[in-house]
Symmetry: C2
Subunit: 205 residues, 2 copies
């Protein structure tokens, strides 16, 4: 009973992560009620997105495209002020955004492009692990630490274990982000696994 153009747009919004049928409807009616210039701007930015953004040739993160160069280095990899001896290994480019917002880490990144999940058909060969090893190899012992900033899930643990084995012959320290109770959390509501990790990872005060 609703116009086709509306239904088509709602169906497209439904494909985005975290947006169900109801939310998609609300969003599309909101756009329809708003100034048409908003829809035009959103349309223009979406259409230009893949042309404006490409992958960094070093870390695999997203960066602004440069038509003059085929191999682009991102703003972090090309920054001499960053600590290039510490590589933070992350699952996806989005994690880089989150870590950068924390302003804690000053090293460089390496995007794996996923986590090892044999049941979902993701094997080590599907990830940029070979590229990470080549990167460490080509750095001539300049890299001191590899921080594995992978989710504390089965896939994250598997990937961390695999990377640890692959990197054990290199003179680099392999570390992993601490897992335990989140700040502001409540022991009463914490799950057993997290509590167990908090105990095992306890620190002197």
């Amino acid at each position: 009973m609703t116009p086709n153009a509306l239904d088509r747009l709602i169906a497209l919004f439904c494909k985005l992560p975290g947006i169900g049928k109801k939310s998609a409807g609300r969003i599309v009616y909101h756009i329809l009620d708003a100034n048409p210039s908003f829809a035009e701007t959103l349309s223009r930015e979406l259409s230009g997105l893949h042309k404006a953004i490409c992958r960094c040739s070093v870390c695999g993160g997203f960066t602004e495209s440069n038509p003059a160069q085929k191999q682009v280095e991102c703003i972090i990899c090309s920054n001499p002020d960053r600590d290039h001896s510490v590589i933070c290994v992350i699952e996806s480019a989005q994690d880089m955004r989150v870590i950068e917002e924390g302003r804690e880490f000053v090293g460089v990144y390496h995007v794996l492009g996923g986590l090892i999940a044999p049941l979902e058909g993701v094997d080590p060969e599907n990830l940029s692990i070979g590229k990470l090893i080549a990167r460490i190899h080509n750095a001539n012992n300049q890299i001191k630490e590899i921080i594995l900033a992978l989710n504390p899930t089965i896939e994250g643990d598997t990937t961390a274990l695999y990377l640890q084995k692959q990197l054990k012959d290199f003179p680099v320290e392999v570390t992993r982000l601490a897992s335990g109770m989140p700040v502001g959390g409540n022991i009463e509501y914490i799950d057993k696994l997290t509590l167990s990790r908090s105990f095992r990872g306890r620190t002197r005060i």
Copy 2:
């Protein structure tokens, strides 16, 4: 630290209802990771939305534009099988979608375009109340019932009371959707106002 095109798109998605900064980031990275054709399709649909959709000249709901006609009637208003003697008054065009999905109502609609909310600067003159009265007036006693399908909120109650007063001189029955406990609800968790309305609106079984 993130490319400008990404930040601009995330800022645009943040303006949509129900989408915060984190969700917007997730959505934009998802679009970037997906096939570029998805972004192109979404862009094209958004750009064509306001041209494809216009307001129905009778009820004020959304309908497919027709370049040949300036005054377009929607698929419901122009359907002779609908009961044109019953008008369901709704706050926004989106409510029409929800009610149509319920397949309970077979009459026609009237979109108010909001609810009376003096504190937010929405007075009766800002809504299409005059148009509703003209519609009833011009129908020559053909309209038998006006169903007020307005939210059971202060604004909805105020608007319903105002409409009831405005329509009292017309030979139409003015009704309002039942307010009470939702199906599957639990008396233990229901708020006092809803419980009070459930009591007042109780029906014989």
